[in-house]
Structure formats: structure tokens, C-alpha cells
């Protein structure tokens, strides 16, 4: 019976064609309540080619009445070169005054980013990006981006905000 084979094939296809999608819920901004306020890189892993650029944003998460941030990022400068640093949008949300944005790259693997409001009583709350860093990769491989202990956040009245989590990022050059 010739029709048996196509019949079985069709039946097998019918039964096996339905696959469950493998969805990874790994958004770096998706953190537990115990980990906020925090600071992180987004994306957590930025991929590019050797000699290519990778854009990474620095996010502050679930902060309340944020007045200023000092983020000190360390990385292997033999592998990565900072191409540009730009201000993020989060602190621009204030209607009182525009934020100050200053950065300093020492060329030896430490990048200091400072962004703050001048004067007291001017703050923003929630989650948002404070800076965008563009790296150029020099060699193949993984390079970690870490926030140092110097990283800090203050509220509108210049009181320090406890940072409960500092997630590290990664740039992968293939």
C-alpha cells in the first residue's frame, strides 16, 4: 500500500512540527527588588568584530530623586579603545534645569563619567540611561566592563544613594 508511507510522514510531521519557542528572559534591566537601586550596562553583552565598534549604555535602575551620578568604568585598554562618550537621556527628563555631563578617559583602562544637576531640589526617579559609550575592539576575545567602588549616586540634596547592585558588562570581539 503505497499511501501508507506518505500518510505516516504527514502524521509524523503533524505531531512533530509544533515546537515550543526557547525564549530567554535575560534583559539586564530585569532585576529583583532587592537589587535596586542599581547600575548596569545595557546590553549586558555587546558583540562586534575585531576592529569594529560596540555601543554600550549605562543604566541606573529604580532610583528615587536622583541628582547626580559618578560612574567609574574599568576595562582592558589593550583590547578596547573608547571611541566616544555621550550623555544619556535619563537626567534630561528634569524640567528644572539641564544636567552637566563630563567624562574623562585616562587611556589606561579607566573611564570616569560624571553627570549631575547644579543646585539642590532637582532630581529624577525611575530607570534610564545616563551615558552611551562606544568602544572599538583591538583584539579578539571577551573584555569585561566593571564599575569600580568609586561609582556613586546622590539625590537632589546631595545625599548618597546606596547602590545595591552593580552589574558588569562584556564586549565580545569575534
Amino acid at each position: 500500500m503505497r499511501w501508507i508511507k506518505p500518510l505516516c510522514t504527514a502524521l509524523a510531521l503533524l505531531l512533530t512540527a509544533c515546537e515550543i519557542p526557547n525564549l530567554l528572559f535575560d534583559n539586564v534591566l530585569d532585576v529583583e527588588d532587592s537589587d535596586v537601586p542599581g547600575i548596569t550596562f545595557n546590553p549586558g553583552v555587546a558583540e562586534t568584530t575585531v576592529g569594529g565598534t560596540a555601543s554600550v549604555k549605562i543604566y541606573v535602575m529604580e532610583v528615587d530623586n536622583l541628582g547626580g551620578v559618578h560612574a567609574q568604568v574599568q576595562f582592558d585598554y589593550t583590547r578596547l579603545t573608547v571611541t566616544s562618550v555621550a550623555a544619556g537621556t535619563f537626567l534630561g527628563g528634569s524640567t528644572v534645569s539641564a544636567p552637566i555631563f563630563i567624562y574623562e578617559n585616562d587611556g589606561a583602562g579607566t573611564l570616569d563619567i560624571n553627570t549631575f544637576y547644579m543646585g539642590a531640589g532637582n532630581g529624577v526617579s525611575g530607570t534610564g540611561d545616563i551615558a552611551t559609550i562606544v568602544f572599538t575592539t583591538n583584539t579578539a576575545g571577551q573584555t569585561y566592563l566593571n564599575f569600580t567602588e568609586q561609582t556613586e549616586m546622590v539625590d537632589a540634596d546631595d545625599n548618597p544613594i546606596t547602590i545595591k547592585s552593580k552589574a558588569r558588562g562584556m564586549v565580545v570581539a569575534k
Binding site: 500500500m1 499511501w3 500518510l7 502524521l11 503533524l14 505531531l15 509544533c18 515550543i20 519557542p21 525564549l23 528572559f25 534583559n27 534591566l29 530585569d30 532585576v31 535596586v36 545595557n42 543604566y59 535602575m61 529604580e62 525611575g126 530607570t127 534610564g128 540611561d129
Partner: protein, 494 residues
């Protein structure tokens, strides 16, 4: 058939369950139309007390002549075996019609039937027509009173399927047209002692004379083997018949047989007919008393398969005609050899057709076999499973699309509230996707099983079931005790 053919399993009735016990000792007659005179008897009648009936050849509308002859012969055989009427010999009928310048099949009006009946001395005449339109056969039978010349009862059957299946329908019709309820009658020939018997060559209808003669010889040999009868030598019988100016082949009437039997000095004569309808064979055998001229025992067999398989059937028939149980070796031979095996081979083509139909549309093959209950179950089951599968697959597709959509929103979101909301929604849809996928597997498996069952069932259906109608079936029947219709489900157990 001596076995109980059907056991009524369930009675769904307008009234509650009431056991219906058939009285096998008496022939009961269901209520008839006002015009029909019911034939009733509480105990077997003597031949003289029975109403006399003659059966005319039926009008043929589109069938081979020998098939109509075989079918009408089965009707005659059934009418004769009811024990309710006395059947007048066909040859006498033919002779009278010939004298009147009529052909049997040309005598289709009530007036003609009544006129012929008067000449025959019959009280009732049975006539009718058999027609074929496509695969559908229609048989109409009329019960004509010779005294009034009016049709007192008509019965019609419509049948779709192989022509062999009509044989059992003709048996039913034989009971219906005389207005009696079908019962299995055992004849009253004394079953002890030895009898003297002469056997006339069986009349061939649709098979050649040589085959009929061979089967008659085998029948005679087996009659001899029973030890119940002393057979008259065939040569002696031929000589006597030649002296009387008869030829064996021409001596098919009871009148002739009785005359020859008297000359031979035998107590009983046996004659019969072997007919062929498609690939179904019918054997109708009659043994009648030479002294009284009445039929003492009639038996018939319906067989499907090659002609050589008839040998076992006819051997068994010989034992039954002598009122004896056939020996085990013959019954085993019937079960194992010829019939079953050849049935399978003969059924292959039909099964193949049914299988292909069922493979295309579940239940179609069963419909082809007239197994409407099974066809309904398979079609309904298949359609239900198909619908559920389609529904589950739609759910799967929409859930999967939504899970992926919300996952994308989750990955792009930056606010924790939005993140969590998108994540929860995406996970919900992912769960729905998994559930729908499980349902697809279950319904798919069930659909596959239903389909496989359907194809397997179509392939395994036995054609003989088709002929005998041994399917589980629902039927609407009139219950004379309750005077109400009943819906019955019957399943053959043999």
C-alpha cells in the same frame, strides 16, 4: 440456519424494556393491513389444510435471466419451507401457462395471476418484479387472491450492494409476502430408520450442467455416507426414466419426480437447483414424499467463493437433508479450507475498494459496506478529532506568536514595571503554547488512531457479513405485544 442469528442487546423503546420471547413452536403472524388475510396457525398444519400458493417468475428489469431465476427459486424455497402454505409445483405452472400461450414473466397482471391460479387450483398467487438501477436492486412482490383476483398484500425491498446479498433479502421477502413472521422451522421427517431415496440431477442456473452434475454426484455420495438412506442406482433411475420418455435434466417437476419415484419404488425423491449470483452461489434442495407428493424437507445454502468450495457445502447439506448433524471433520473443513480462505481472496478486491475509500474519507469504506453505524462513528469521531486538532493548532499558533511578541517587548523595555508586565504576559502565552502543543499531540494521536482503525476496519470487513447483514445495527421494528415501534440494536454473535 439453525443458530440464533442475532441477540437483541438493547431495546430502546417508547416503553420500557420488555422481553420478547419468540415462540418457536408456532408460527405467529404480525398484524397485517386490513386487506390482507393473515395466515395463522398455532401448530404445524397438515399439507391438506394449508393454503395453496404458486409463485410466478418475477418480471426482470435489468438483471441476467439466471440471476432472477435463482432469486425467485430462493423465494419459492423459502415459501415452501415456511410450513404455512403449500407451494404448487413450478413445472405444472409452466405447463399451464404454456397451454394458455403465456410466458411466466408475461403474466404480470392480477387478472392473469388469478386466472392461472384458478387453472392450477391455487388459492393464492405470488408475482412481482426485480429491478436494478445502478447498484440498487428493488424487489416488489404481490400476494394475489385467486378468488377475488385482487392484490391483498405487497412487499417491497430495496437493497444496495453485491447481488449475492439479495439472497437473504429474498428469504425475508418469502416470509413477509405470506404474512408470517420468520422462524427457523425443523421438518418432521422421522429421524430414525432407513429411507429409500432417489436423487435427480440438480438444475443448473448460471453454472454449467457438468458442474451441477458433479455436485449432484457428490451430494448423492454423501447421502449414502450418512447411512440414513438407501440410494437408487443412478443407472437404474436413468433406465426407468428413459422407458417413461423422460430425460433426467427435464424431470424437474414434482409431478415427474413423484411418477418416477413411484416407478422406482422409493419413499422420497430429492431434487434441487444450484444458482449463481455474481460470485455468490445458492443451493436449494427439496425432498418430497412420493406417496403424498408433499415437500418433507427443504434446505438452502448461500455460499460465496469459487465453485469448488461448494463441495464441502453440498456434503454438509446432504447430512442436513437427512436430518443429521454433519460430522466434525466436515464442519472443520468448512471453517478452515475453501470457504474462509477463498472468501478472503474473493473479498480482496472489494476490501481494497473499501480500504481506499476509508483511506480517503474515514467511514466511506464502511458506508460502502452498508455498515452505517460504524461509518457514523468513524466519520463523527474523525470529524470531532479533526476539529479539536484544528482548534488546538490555531491556539498554538496564536499563543506562540503572542509569546514571541511580548518577549520582544520585554527585551526592549527599560522600565521595571513594563519589563515585569511583558515578561508575565509572554510567559502566560508560552504556557498556553505548551498546553496547545500537548493537545495537538493528544488529538493528533487520537485522530491517527481513529484513522488507522478506520482503514484497518475497512480492510478487515468480511464480505459475507455484507450478504447476511451481520453488522451491529440499529433498526426500527414493530413490537406486536406492545403495539408500538421499538428502536433496537442488534449484534450477530456467530
Amino acid at each position: 440456519m439453525s443458530q440464533i442469528k442475532h441477540i437483541i442487546l438493547f431495546i430502546f423503546a417508547l416503553t420500557c424494556l420488555s422481553a420478547q420471547v419468540a415462540d418457536t413452536a408456532a408460527v405467529s403472524v404480525p398484524p397485517q393491513d386490513d386487506v390482507a388475510a393473515p395466515l395463522t396457525m398455532a401448530a404445524p398444519l397438515s399439507p391438506d389444510a394449508m393454503p395453496t400458493v404458486a409463485v410466478l417468475d418475477f418480471e426482470n428489469n435489468g438483471l441476467p435471466v439466471y440471476e432472477v431465476e435463482s432469486l425467485v427459486e430462493r423465494l419459492r424455497s423459502t415459501v415452501s419451507s415456511t410450513g404455512v402454505v403449500r407451494l404448487l409445483d413450478r413445472k405444472i405452472l409452466e405447463k399451464i401457462l404454456e397451454e394458455q400461450g403465456l410466458q411466466q414473466s408475461g403474466c404480470t397482471t392480477d387478472e392473469c395471476a388469478a386466472e392461472v391460479g384458478q387453472l392450477l387450483g391455487a388459492q393464492y398467487m405470488i408475482g412481482g418484479a426485480i429491478g436494478k438501477l445502478g447498484d440498487t436492486y428493488t424487489v416488489e412482490a404481490r400476494w394475489v387472491s385467486v378468488s377475488t383476483g385482487a392484490t391483498e398484500r405487497t412487499e417491497t425491498i430495496t437493497y444496495e450492494g453485491p447481488v449475492g446479498g439479495l439472497v437473504s433479502k429474498m428469504e425475508d421477502l418469502g416470509w413477509q409476502i405470506i404474512g408470517a413472521q420468520r422462524v427457523e422451522l425443523e421438518t418432521v421427517v422421522a429421524d430414525t430408520g432407513t429411507i429409500t431415496v432417489a436423487i435427480l440431477d440438480f438444475e443448473p442456473r448460471g453454472i454449467n450442467a457438468l458442474e451441477a452434475q458433479t455436485l449432484t454426484d457428490r451430494f448423492a455420495t454423501e447421502i449414502n455416507s450418512t447411512g440414513r438412506a438407501v440410494l437408487v442406482d443412478r443407472r437404474q433411475m436413468t433406465e426407468v426414466m428413459q422407458e417413461q420418455g423422460y430425460e433426467q435434466a427435464g424431470c424437474t417437476s414434482e409431478e415427474c419426480a413423484a411418477e418416477v419415484g413411484a416407478l422406482l419404488g422409493v419413499e422420497f425423491m430429492i431434487n434441487g437447483a444450484i444458482g449463481k449470483l455474481g460470485d455468490t452461489y445458492t443451493i436449494d434442495v427439496k425432498m418430497f414424499n412420493v406417496q403424498t407428493g408433499t415437500a418433507e424437507r427443504t434446505k438452502n445454502v448461500t455460499y460465496t467463493g469459487p465453485v469448488d468450495g461448494m463441495i464441502t457445502e453440498i456434503e454438509i447439506l446432504a447430512w442436513l437433508m437427512m436430518g443429521l448433524e454433519p460430522p466434525d471433520y466436515l464442519v472443520e473443513k468448512q471453517d478452515k479450507s475453501g470457504e474462509r480462505l477463498t472468501d478472503v481472496l474473493a473479498n480482496f478486491l472489494l476490501n481494497y475498494k473499501a480500504t481506499v475509500r476509508s483511506a480517503l474519507v474515514p467511514g466511506w469504506g464502511q458506508l460502502y459496506y452498508k455498515d452505517n453505524t460504524m461509518a457514523g462513528m468513524l466519520m463523527g469521531g474523525g470529524a470531532l478529532m479533526g476539529f479539536m486538532l484544528y482548534n488546538a493548532r490555531n491556539n498554538y499558533k496564536s499563543s506562540k506568536a503572542k509569546a514571541i511578541e511580548f518577549h520582544g517587548l520585554y527585551m526592549d523595555a527599560t522600565k521595571l514595571v513594563d519589563l515585569r508586565s511583558y515578561k508575565a504576559t509572554s510567559k502566560d502565552h508560552l504556557s498556553d503554547t505548551k498546553r496547545a502543543n500537548n493537545k495537538i499531540k493528544i488529538y493528533g494521536t487520537l485522530l491517527g488512531l481513529t484513522y488507522a482503525t478506520n482503514v484497518f476496519h475497512a480492510y478487515m470487513l468480511d464480505k459475507s457479513q455484507l450478504a447476511s447483514g451481520n453488522f451491529p445495527r440499529f433498526e426500527l421494528a414493530f413490537n406486536p405485544e406492545l403495539n408500538a415501534p421499538q428502536l433496537r440494536l442488534s449484534i450477530a454473535l456467530d
